[in-house]
Amino acid sequence: MTTAETYVTAAYCVVFAGVLVYVVLIALKLQRLEREVDELERAAHKAAEDERETVGVG
């Protein structure tokens, strides 16, 4: 590989790596959002169950 080819490859790899890092960060953010949705879902289920129990006792 010539020096020019090495530098061109490096430049394109930098672009690729930059995009890859960005995609990883977005993926991590989406994972966090998924966890938050799960938590909210659990909280909603718990609230619904508590409400049913209260109605049953009353």
């Binding site: 020096t3 020019a4 490096a10 430049a11 394109y12 930098v14 977005i26 949705v37």
Partner: protein, 229 residues
């Protein structure tokens, strides 16, 4: 503007596939079709991504300023987040411009960076200006004040775009090549075709990333509202 508003109606997966296809076509043209440059030889191929990435960064900053203006003028409730995401994209593409430019400078001029070059320094100033946008934004609590301050800052930054772009033309001594003149581009044939395809690919790719990030941010905001409801 119509083209941009039509792009918003295209579903995200279709947009992602289109940008991937266009990117593959661009890379094929860069490495298999475009001829070697007479002066710089093979290393000139960095140009096909370096220059489109620079214009994409300018486009992102301009879009950020446009959305900031919409926030201040029309009080569009979605504009603040859109402006923030566009500036964020601009900073990402700006980082890539500086990195690819440095590599190209090393092989062409023998230096990673030249402080005497107005074009380089002004782009760095523009880049650092928009980096400071995040410091300002996250130093203020979420709310109308944060949105207004961020919008004003993003609008000020747009003034630096023509300065950065024209610096190369107003500089008396320069090593940075001037590829676009008042009479059009300084190249033709397959070089021009490859450049145009690469530019279209990068713009579409940036728009796809913008839509992905914006969807995530909106989801985040809605979840936060639900949590505090």
């Amino acid at each position: 503007m119509r083209v941009v508003s039509r792009l918003y109606r295209v579903p995200l997966p279709a947009l992602a596939v289109a940008s991937l296809v266009l990117m593959m076509v661009a890379l094929t043209l860069v490495f298999y079709v475009a001829p070697n440059d007479a002066n710089q030889g093979f290393s000139q191929r960095i140009f096909y991504f370096h220059v489109p990435i620079a214009f994409t960064a300018y486009a992102c900053f301009a879009a950020g300023a446009w959305k900031a203006l919409r926030h201040l003028w029309k009080r569009d409730p979605l504009a603040d987040l859109e402006s923030y995401v566009a500036v964020h994209q601009g900073v990402i593409f700006g980082t890539l411009v500086l990195l690819t430019g440095s590599i190209w400078a090393k092989i062409s001029w023998g230096h990673w960076w030249l402080w005497g070059e107005d074009e380089l320094v002004l782009f760095l100033v523009l880049f650092l200006f928009y980096c400071a946008y995040f410091m300002l934004r996250f130093s203020v609590d979420p709310g109308p004040q944060r949105a207004n301050l961020s919008a004003v800052y993003a609008l000020f930054g747009v003034v630096l775009i023509p300065v950065s772009f024209l610096a190369i033309r107003i500089a008396k001594s320069f090593v940075h090549p001037e590829v676009f003149t008042l009479h059009g581009p300084n190249f033709g044939g397959w070089i021009l075709v490859t450049y145009c395809v690469a530019q279209a690919a990068l713009l579409l790719f940036a728009h796809t990333l913008y839509r992905v990030e914006l969807t995530g941010k909106r989801l985040d905001a809605r979840l936060r509202e639900l949590r505090f409801a």
